[in-house]
Symmetry: C2
Subunit: 136 residues, 2 copies
C-alpha cells in the first residue's frame, strides 16, 4: 500500500492517510473533499489536511493544480522534475494526466533567460477534452 518509488522519508500517520486518499482517487481532490473522506479516520479540521499536503507537495508526491484549487497524486516514478510537469485537465470527465516534457522545459528556461528572469517553478495546466471523452 502506498509504496512509491519516490525518494522520501517515512510519512506520518496523517500524511499517509492523505496520500492514500489521493492515490486511490481517479482525479484531483480538493482539500475539503479529502477532509470529508478522512473524518472516519479522526480528521476534524482543514489544517490536518493542509499540513499533510504541504509535506507531500514538498516531497513531490503530490501536485497542486492551481486552476482547480485541487491536488493529485503524482503518477510518475520519479518526481525530481515535478517542478516542470504539464497537466492536461479534461473538462468533461475531470481526469488529469501528467506529462514531463524536457523540450518544453528547456524552451521555458530559454524564454526566462531571454528576459533575465530566474525561473524557480513553472505552472502549466492545459484544459480541454481528453481522448476518451472525445469519442463519446
Amino acid at each position: 500500500m502506498s509504496e512509491h518509488i519516490h525518494a522520501h522519508e517515512k510519512l506520518t500517520k496523517n500524511q499517509t492517510l492523505v496520500m492514500d486518499a489521493l492515490a486511490n482517487a481517479d482525479g484531483p481532490l480538493s482539500a475539503y473533499t479529502i477532509l470529508d473522506q478522512l473524518r472516519g479516520n479522526g480528521f476534524r479540521a482543514p489544517l490536518q489536511v493542509y499540513r499533510a499536503l504541504d509535506k507531500l507537495l514538498d516531497s513531490g508526491l503530490v501536485h497542486r493544480l492551481e486552476s482547480l484549487n485541487a491536488f493529485v497524486a503524482c503518477r510518475h516514478d520519479d518526481c525530481t522534475d515535478h517542478e516542470q510537469t504539464v497537466f492536461m485537465i479534461c473538462e468533461t470527465c475531470g481526469k488529469v494526466s501528467e506529462i514531463a516534457d524536457k523540450a518544453l522545459t528547456q524552451h521555458l528556461q530559454k524564454m526566462a533567460s531571454a528576459s533575465q528572469f530566474s525561473l524557480t517553478k513553472a505552472t502549466i495546466e492545459l484544459r480541454g477534452r481528453c481522448k476518451a471523452c472525445k469519442t463519446v
Copy 2:
C-alpha cells in the same frame, strides 16, 4: 483613459471602473483589493467586481493568474492570442510580465495532439525573480 487597441464593445460603468483599477496598478490585484479600491465609487459587494471581471476576462482585456487568485490588465496591443500567454511572476516584487510565444504555443498544441487531447486553454505561469530584483 483606458483606451485599448483591443477589439471590444463599449464597457459599462462598473467594467470601466474595474478595468481602470487594473490598468493603473503595477501588479496583479485580487478581486477584494479591487473592491476596496472602488468603495468610493459605490462598490459594496464582491459580485460587482466579479461580474465586471467576467466580462473583461471574456474580452481578453484582463487575465486571471490562477496561481495568485488575482487579475492583471493585458499589456498587449492585441489579445486575440491571450489564451496562450506566458506569465512571469516575480516573487520578490510581485510584478508580472506577459509574453506571447508562438513556438511554445505550437509545442503545447503538439503535445496535446500527441495525446489526442483537444486543447482549449493553456495556463502557463512562471515563478522566479525578475531582472530588476536580481540586481538588487
